[in-house]
Structure formats: C-alpha cells, structure tokens
C-alpha cells in the first residue's frame, strides 16, 4: 500500500509542478517573442501573488482545518514591509540591483509576517473551536487600521517610524504616508521571481503536507482527540501550518506590493481575505493544484469579462456559481472520469476497488 500511496503522491506532485513550469515556459516565451497582450502581461505578477496566497491559505484551511479570515492582513504586512525594505535598501545602501532587493524584501517580509502569525497563533491555537476565525478577522482589521496611521520615512540611511502623527524629521523621503499608503515604490517585481516564489511555495507546502508533520497536521484536523491520544501536540502542529501560511502570505504580499508604485490599506480589507477564501474553496480544500488553478482562473476572469462593462461582476458571479455546480455535478464528474479515466485511476489509486488505499 505504501508504494501505491507514494506513487500517487509523486504523480500528483509531478502534475502540479509540471503544469506550473509549463505555464511559465510558455508565457516567458510569449514575452520574449512579444506575442503577449499588455493586459495579460500586466496580470502575470498579481496572478503569481494570488496563487501563493491561495496555496498558503489552503494549508491552514484545507490541511489544518482551521478557518482563517485575515489572510489579507498578512499580505498587507508583507506588502508594507516589502515597500519599506526596498525603499530603505535603495536609499541607505544604494542597492541598485532590483532582483537582489526584491529577493531580500520578499524574505524579510516573510519573516515579519511569520512573527505576526506566531504572535496570533500562540494564544489562539491553544483553544478549541472557531476562535482562530474570529481573531484573524479582527487581526486583519486591526492591521489595516494601524497601517492607516503609520508614517515611515528614511534619510541618511536611517529609518524613522511614527504613529498617528507625521512627526518625522525634515527632509525625509516618505516611504509610508498614513492613509496615502506606501508611496513612490519602485516597481521591481518580475514574473520570473513570481514564478520562483510559486515553486518555493509548492515545495514547502507539498513537502510539509507529505511529511510526518504534515500527517500530524491532518490528523489534528480529522480528529483532535484521536490525534492527541496518539501523542500529537495539536497546538504545535497547528502553529506550524499557521505560521508557514503567514510567512508565505507575507512573501506574496511583498511581491504584490512591489509590483505597483503604491499600496493602500484599503486593498487589504476583509473582502480581500474572503476573495482568497473563494480561491481556496473553489479549488477544493486540501487540493493544492486546485488552488493554483482557481487563483489563476478567478484573477483572469474579471479581465476577460471586461467587454461586459457594468455587468462584469454579475457575469463573474454567475460563472462562479456555474463552476461550483458543474464541478460537483455527479453526471459531469462521471463524464470527466471517463474522459480522464486513466489519469484519475492513477491519481486516486483505484479508490473504488480498494477504498482503503485512500486512507492516507
């Protein structure tokens, strides 16, 4: 049984990585050949960021079974940290290389968001019930209101922070200007780095999920008491998933923020968290490839629907409902099964004949 499960996992991972790499190669070739429309090219980096957001949220919701409603909060921490770090490195250390600045900004943003994730997780993940949903919801709103009154400036290699009032020394270059958000960012995000971040995310998430810790995480989701009686520390493993997700969301935020010349707190509202939740639910809880596909699909969809002008979001909602219905329709599922039968059998490890084979 072990080999079958391993093979199944290997094929699933290969398909996930293969699809992402193939998409990257095709798109990168199109960019090189200038055979790509401006609209699509402009969407590439946001798509990368949303994929990382969806996959990381899936780790919390799909695998550890906790509901997080403040994922956009971690993203905003990442976006702001990224903007500050990039602006500071440029002015203080005259770091001209955009790729190095971007990579450092992404890493530092990940660490900062991870620390916030740990701060929230430590008290909340000790509790049973839906506390994480409530606390992350509040956290998202608190972060948004805090950055609303945050002022950061840099001069002579020093960073100046101020809350509530713009009490910064004369002549500083503003990096974060209260309600105006992070300003004058030099957009340095590239599709290649975005792609690298997706691959990194997939490696981290898929490896974590398929590791001993990952099985413990899923065990706490499936049956807390049984997991505890087996000696699994529920808090520890839930923390592991939550902090990893927060870190990845912070990285995605840095990529996202450094793709634009400005970032505002209103971009990271509760609605944005729900948006990511929709990506995850549509793609399937605990389905990493599904998250990748649905994040891409739902980011591109509103742009494809641009011709519908005012009716765009109406059509968007209808498409969303149709996708939900179709992917859950038994008739269509059986049709898909017949179409992709061989692949599915491989993937599911002949579930029908041996239901035990999927007990992983």
């Amino acid at each position: 049984m072990m080999t079958k499960a391993k093979r199944k996992r290997l094929i699933y991972n290969l398909i996930t990585f293969g699809l992402v790499i193939a998409a990257y190669l095709i798109l990168q070739n199109m960019i090189d050949a200038k055979a790509i429309s401006r609209s699509l090219k402009g969407l590439l980096v946001p798509i990368c960021a949303w994929i990382v957001m969806a996959v990381s949220l899936n780790l919390v919701i799909g695998f550890s079974g906790e509901l997080s409603l403040g994922h956009a909060g971690f993203m905003s921490i990442g976006a702001y940290t990224g903007a500050i770090v990039s602006g500071w490195f440029l002015s203080a250390f005259d770091m001209q290389d955009p790729t190095l600045r971007l990579i450092l900004a992404i890493l530092i943003s990940g660490v900062v968001a991870g620390i916030f994730g740990a701060l929230i997780g430590i008290p909340v993940l000790r509790l049973r019930g839906d506390y994480l949903a409530i606390v992350t919801l509040a956290f998202g709103e608190i972060i948004r209101n805090l950055v609303n009154v945050l002022y950061v400036g840099t001069t002579d290699g020093k960073l100046y922070f101020s809350f509530l009032n713009k009490n910064l020394p004369e002549g500083v270059t503003m990096l974060v200007d209260g309600a105006k958000g992070a300003v004058k960012i030099k957009p340095i995000s590239t599709f290649t780095i975005g792609f690298a971040l997706i691959i990194l995310t997939l490696i981290i998430v898929l490896n974590l999920v398929n590791s001993r810790a990952g099985r413990a995480i899923q065990a706490t989701r499936d049956n807390r008491i049984a997991a505890e009686s087996m000696g699994v520390s529920v808090t520890k493993y839930k923390m592991m998933a939550f902090v990893t997700a927060a870190t990845l969301a912070g990285m995605a935020g840095a990529l996202y923020g450094l793709n634009s010349s400005t970032v505002v707190p209103t971009q990271f509202t509760f609605n944005q968290s729900i948006n990511v939740l929709v990506f995850v639910v549509l793609g399937g809880l605990g389905n990493v490839l599904g998250s990748v596909i649905s994040a891409t699909f739902l980011t591109v969809l509103p742009e494809i629907l641009r011709e519908f002008a005012d009716y765009r979001m109406l059509v968007y909602a209808v498409v969303l409902i149709l996708v939900m219905i179709f992917t859950n329709n038994p008739l269509i599922r059986s049709m898909m099964n017949r179409l992709f039968g061989p692949v599915r059998t491989l993937l599911r490890g002949k579930q029908k004949k041996a239901p035990g084979g999927d007990a992983e």
Binding site: S39, G42, T262, M313
Partner: protein, 376 residues
C-alpha cells in the same frame, strides 16, 4: 424604380462631393479610466458621462478631430487600474483621461510614466498623482491647494477666526486638504479650536460635532465628500448648533443626497469651480445636454471631465497628433503642447506648469434656497 435609382445616385454623388470638400477628420482614441462600478462609481460615472457629452459635441461639430472614447473600469482599486490601463492601451488608446480617483491615478500614472503615456486626470487631486511624473496633468486643484485656498478664502472674507475641523483620517483626499489647511491657518490669524477625525465606517458624528460646539467654533471646516457631510449637518441641526459650514469640492452633490433635508444645507459654503445653476452660457448648454442625455444634474466631476476632453483635443491639435501615432509617440508632444495651452472651460480658465498642477482661480459657492450660488 427609375426615381429611386436617380435618388440613390444623387445621394452617392452628394456624399462624394461632401467628402471631397471636407478634410477627412482624424480619429483620436482617448481612454477614460474611472470607477464605473464599486464604492466610488458615482464619481467614475460622472466623469464618464461628462466626457461623453464633450465627445458628442466635438464629433457633431465635425472639426479636425473625431474622438473615439474607450471606457475602462478601475473599480477604484490600485490593482485593477493597471489592468484597465493595459486594456485601454491594448484597445489602441493614444492618451488617457483619468483616472477619476487619486490612488488609482497615482498607480496608473506611474506606469504611464515608464511607458510614456499622457494622462490628464479630471478629478484625482492628490499631490502624489502628479509628483515625480512629467506625464500627468490635472484639471482640478491639488488637495493642498484646496486646503490653503479655503483658509485664504475664510481669512479674506472674514468669516470668523475660531475654526473646527472634522476630517476622515482614513481618506487621502480628506487628510490632504486638512494638512495644508491646518498648516496655513496660523499665519492667517485663524485659530483651530477643535480637530476631530472619523473613518469610512463612521455613521454617528455626535462626538465630533459636540466637540466643535463645546469649543465654540464659528466655522466648521469639512474637507470630505458629501455623504458624511450630510450626516454632520443633520447632527448639528439636532444639537441646534449653527456655525458656518465650509466645505470643499467633494461637498458638491450634497443637495442630491436621497432623504436629505435640503434646508439643513442652507448657508453651507463650499469651494468649487463649477455650479450647475450658473448663468454662464457654456455651463448652461453643458447642463442642458447632460440632463437631456442622462436625466440628472451634472456634478463637478462631470464638468471636469467635460473640460478634460476639450483640453485633450486642444492639446492634440496643438501637438499635431495624427491617427497613426501611438501613445508613446504622442506623449512628449502632448506634454509640450499642454504647457503652452491656456484653456477657457466651464470650470474656469486654466494653464499648466511642469509640475502638472493646474492654475485657476478658486471660487466659493453658498447654498441659498436649495441651490448653489457663486460668491463674488
């Protein structure tokens, strides 16, 4: 049958004669970017409608240019505006009228600065919109200019010296105006006696208005859009507090708020370049055309966009833009042209400098008997 053929031939002849005489008009592709859906849709629709009126007029007049308007929705979102901007350029836009609101305009303008695309924004008034970019110009005042102009107006007309400020500290527009207003007041001998904040979610202004009343303010300065302003006026009326309320251009539209008692707005002053009830001939014809087409009274945003299309057409003519030019080729020509341009529109007579900010005279209107009346 013969008659018909004769008629058809005559028609064909007439058409060929016509086209032979008139120069083929050059088609300009102008993209309007603004939020036509979402929370700020009111403003995006106003600028879109205002622009449409100007385009209709220019096309009907049959001058040198024919304008094709491309409309793209940015949802008042910093991410979506880039998509809208890219879609507009994919559709062949040569210049951009937009974006309607400040933050999206800042993001798209920065992208346009790299790509060399000319932006004229009707109503994005934040300084960040034009700062560090030579390609973005404004039809409206910048926020700091509105703040200092308001302080100067109050001091000049001796409306009072004790001032309370209520502003939205989560809003760029509101804080931008408040910052320079508060800065400017001391040097003009005006005293800020109370300063209170609110956010987008605030619906109860009892505390803010109460503080202003306790402090004995003679003037309450309201740098905000009209929806919270209407609530503040209601609260003040309930407290029987009657200072002079002084607003800025976002106050325009307060008389159209549904369920709002217009008598509460009596005596409210606001700094605005445009009032729909003006006796000016140009304004009258614009308002009439707007009402006929959209069945509503235009607000200042619509007037700004109407002027914006005419300014773009005038700058294009001066720069000699042709139908074949790409946005990139047109950009520097348009920048040179607009710096030389002086335009007399329905929101005042305007000139521009390198910063991208407009120079025009601030005007204040007072609400009297439910309509806006210009002060001298």
């Amino acid at each position: 049958m013969k008659k018909l053929i004769a008629l058809a031939l005559a028609l064909v002849l007439a058409l060929t004669v016509c086209t032979a005489f008139a120069d083929e008009p050059i088609t300009l592709k102008i993209a309007h970017i603004g939020p036509t859906t979402g929370a700020a849709a009111l403003y995006g629709l106003a600028t879109q409608h205002g622009a449409e009126i100007a385009v209709d007029e220019i096309n009907a007049a049959g001058g040198k240019y024919r304008i094709e308007l491309i409309n793209e929705d940015d949802e008042h979102n910093v991410e979506k505006v880039i998509n809208a901007y890219n879609a507009a350029l994919d559709a062949g836009a040569q210049m951009i009228l937009g974006s309607t609101t400040s933050k999206p305009c800042e993001a798209a303008g920065a992208k346009g600065y790299e790509d060399r695309v000319f932006f004229l924004t009707p109503s994005a008034s934040s300084v960040n919109v034009i700062e560090d970019k030579d390609n973005v110009f404004q039809v409206c005042f910048t926020d700091p200019n509105q703040g200092s102009a308001s302080a100067e107006y109050i001091a000049e007309h001796k409306l009072g010296t004790k001032i309370a400020v209520i502003f939205n500290n989560a809003d760029v527009y509101s804080t931008g105006i408040r910052d320079t207003f508060v800065q400017k007041c001391p040097e003009l001998g005006l005293e800020i006696v109370s300063e209170e904040t609110f956010t987008d979610e605030t619906t109860d202004f009892t505390v803010q208005v109460g503080k202003a009343q306790e402090a004995g303010a003679e003037i309450v300065f309201l740098p905000m859009y009209y929806t919270p302003a209407s609530l503040i006026l209601k609260t003040a009326a309930a407290k029987n507090y009657k200072p002079i309320f002084f607003g800025v251009d976002g106050m325009d539209g307060i008389l159209d708020v549904e369920g709002f008692d217009k008598s509460l707005a009596e005596g409210v002053m606001l700094l605005t370049p445009f009032v729909a009830t003006s006796e000016d001939e140009k304004v009258k014809s614009f308002v009439a055309a707007y009402q006929a087409k959209f069945n509503e009274t235009p607000i200042q945003f619509a007037a700004d966009a109407y002027d914006g299309i005419y300014i773009l057409a005038a700058a294009a003519e001066k720069a000699g833009i042709t139908a074949e030019m790409t946005a990139e080729e047109a950009c520097d020509l348009l920048i040179a042209a607009i710096l030389d341009l002086s335009y007399e529109g329905i929101t005042g007579s305007m000139t521009w400098d390198e910063s991208g900010a407009v120079t025009k005279t601030p005007m204040a209107a007072t609400i009297v008997n439910g309509v806006y009346v210009f002060e001298d």
